[in-house]
């Protein structure tokens, strides 16, 4: 946003809590408590230094789907409105052209000829192409550009503690205003930065934290007149290894779905994803599925088991010589399994890591899906004794929750995949441990994707969202939120590209508003 405003004539001060590299003490400020569905620790999922969490970003990019904007929790605008910002965002994220699903375009690139999509039933599954950023670490990549921007000042080691109300603003006013922020350095020096507008761009967890701590603006926290700040927290639930597909043909290769494909000017990766029709028919959220190729043959192990079963019953199995051939072919796998079982080891001297030219015999299925916005899924300040950080700020509690519709999303996603795998004759799919009981409980390996969204969501109605269509806090004239906290829904796409697109859109809005005001 700051760079997008560099030629606006506006004076911009960018406050960064951390320094220009990782620091344990600063990172400690991110610690918090998990109260809901277990997920990764809050100081692991983000980074607190210049460039923020993009410093460990994996680079996956894709716009949200049009249907994501039109659910029971609508965005204040439609997807088409964001299209031109997505194009600019793609350039900022160092992607190729924003032609994500135009497969014929990618196939026309050198090296793209082999990227064939599965002929899935478009009512059930579709191929969704992601582009992979280098990845762009924003702090490192754009530091020089920021330094060169005459109207932008970057302050490192400037931790914002709270928002300060304007002198004539009253907590009881319907429309409030803020003067700026109260901040401090790591060594305790305190200072204030005032501005005509303040933009909070601190992510889906820290944004509600800062708003809720700003009780001078409103006793319940800035923008929290309707008790919405921190609610509707969403992540992309992720169930790795939720199923396994055994291929009919033992050397099935689906490069579009199995690997990052580097083409001139772009790197793409295909996933299998929800379709609007399937979402409507089953009342489910969006989802995407990664297929990870497996080249470990199971034939020898299975044949050995069958021989043992048959021997215990005092008979010879059908296809005896086939079984013997399988066992000899996979002796190394059998030795590996025996060694690891005997010594409780993860590795053995019998099997090398898979080689790229080993035949692919199956694929692991990783499921990542959209959760339903839920007001009980929330971020709040931890009021427990001692739950404060080194700066005396309340830490947060993340109570991540999902609901029955989310179970349906996960189980239907896997069912739709199994049906399509069978219909297309690719193979058969086995739901793995935990994935057979998604209607009863979440598997232990379910986790989040480090995508924290929805905690200051946009809505036209102040009773339904903290912010308006421009990301301005409804109740406060000059306070904006930027980032994934704004998302009313989360779709299945990684959020970064949409975060950047929204920031560009907000930059336009701010330039117009503040330039008009003079």
């Amino acid at each position: 946003m700051a760079l997008a405003l560099k030629d606006s004539g506006l004076k911009i001060v960018l406050l960064e809590s951390g320094g220009d590299s990782y620091d344990d003490a600063m990172q400690d400020l991110y610690k918090g408590r998990l109260a809901g569905i277990p997920t990764e620790p809050l100081d692991v999922t983000r980074l607190r230094y210049f460039g923020g969490t993009t410093n460990h970003w994996s680079g996956w990019c894709r716009p949200l789907e049009p249907v994501d904007f039109e659910t029971a929790h609508p965005w204040p605008f439609d997807r088409a409105h964001l299209d031109r910002y997505y194009e600019k965002a793609a350039a900022i994220c160092e992607l190729g052209p924003a032609r994500f699903d135009a497969l014929e375009f990618w196939q026309g690139q050198k090296g793209g000829e082999a990227l064939k999509a599965l002929a899935t039933n478009p009512d059930k599954l579709t191929t969704a192409v992601f582009q992979i950023s280098p990845p762009t670490h924003f702090g490192e990549r754009y530091a020089d550009a920021l330094a060169a921007a005459a109207n932008v000042t970057v302050l490192l080691d400037a931790s914002v503690l709270s928002l300060t109300p304007a002198a004539d603003s009253d907590a009881n006013q319907r429309r409030k205003a803020i003067a700026g922020v109260a901040a401090r350095t790591a060594d305790g020096r305190r200072f204030a930065v005032n501005g005509r507008v303040v933009v909070v761009a601190t992510g889906g967890l820290e944004t509600p934290r800062l708003l809720l701590q700003s009780t001078a603006v409103h006793p319940a926290g800035a923008g929290n007149e309707h008790d919405l700040v921190g609610r509707y927290f969403q992540d992309h639930p992720w169930i790795a290894r939720s199923a396994y597909i055994s291929f009919t043909r033992p050397d099935t290769n689906l490069p579009l779905y199995f690997q990052e494909n580097s083409l001139p000017g772009a790197t793409i990766f295909g996933t299998l994803a929800s379709t609007p029709k399937a979402r409507a028919l089953h009342d489910i959220g969006g989802f995407r599925i990664w297929l990870a190729p497996s080249n470990r043959s199971q034939l020898g192990l299975d044949s050995a088991r069958q021989l043992a079963d048959a021997a215990s019953e005092g008979r010879l199995p059908d296809g005896l010589w086939n079984h013997i051939g399988n066992i000899f072919g996979d002796l190394d796998q059998l030795a590996d399994r025996g060694y690891r079982a005997a010594f409780g080891s993860k590795d053995s001297p019998f099997v090398d890591p898979p080689k790229p030219d080993d035949p692919i015999v199956g694929a692991w299925v990783d499921l990542n899906f959209e959760q339903t916005p839920n007001p009980e899924s929330r971020v709040s300040l931890d009021q427990s004794a001692g739950a404060v950080d080194a700066f005396g700020q309340r830490r947060i509690v993340l109570d991540w929750r999902m609901e029955n519709r989310d179970r349906r999303t996960a189980s239907r996603a896997l069912a739709l995949l199994a049906e399509e795998v069978g219909r297309l004759g690719i193979g058969r799919m086995q739901l793995l441990e935990g994935a057979t009981e998604l209607d009863k409980r979440w598997p232990a390996r379910l986790t989040g994707s480090r995508h924290h969204m929805g905690t200051a969501r946009m809505a036209n109605d102040p009773a339904l969202g903290v912010t308006d269509a421009n990301g301005r806090v409804h109740s406060t004239e000059n306070l904006y939120v930027c980032g994934s906290a704004l998302f009313p829904t989360s779709g299945y796409a990684n959020p970064t590209l949409t975060i950047v697109a929204l920031a560009l859109r907000q930059a336009e809005h701010l330039a117009e508003r503040l330039t008009k005001q003079g």
Binding site: S246, T248, Q306, P317, D318, G422, R428, Q430
Partner: protein
């Protein structure tokens, strides 16, 4: 008949189906029709859409694997999902020509694809199988 959309059953891991068994028992069904064994052909049963003369025993190159899977299916999948199982052929006619075998291959293959397309599946030990192939295996287990 109402088919169980994703009817699920859990079984002890000790008798869990192996990938090899599943592939042998299900994926090879169609291939087996080409393997030179005898096949029977008959009109489809009006209620079950099942070729009456098709003896499941002839469909599997690895009958033991198919029968084991079939037994698990019988043990764990509600009977109404599978019923009525195809019985032994009443008036089988041995398929001898490649044209007839091809026709039967296509019939079974199409039926399996249709099952998956219509969401007519059963899940046993996590394996998501077409109702047709589950019925074939269950019938084999019952009649063997």
């Amino acid at each position: 008949m109402e088919f169980g959309k994703q009817t699920r059953a859990s079984i002890p891991s000790a008798v869990a189906l192996r990938r090899r068994s599943v592939l042998a028992a299900s994926l090879a069904t169609v291939a087996a029709l080409w393997s030179g064994r005898g096949y029977a052909v008959a009109p489809q049963h009006p209620a079950t859409d099942w070729p009456l003369g098709l003896d499941p025993a002839w469909c599997f190159p690895d009958r033991a694997a198919a029968a084991r899977m079939g037994q698990l299916i019988l043990d764990t999948v509600p009977g109404h999902v599978l019923a009525p199982l195809p019985g032994r052929p009443r008036w089988p006619r041995i398929l001898t020509s490649s044209a007839e075998r091809k026709r039967m291959t296509e019939l079974v293959s199409r039926k399996v694809r249709l099952d998956f397309s219509d969401g007519k599946t059963v899940t046993v030990d996590g394996w998501v199988l077409a109702l047709t192939e589950a019925r074939l295996c269950a019938s084999l287990a019952r009649n063997s």
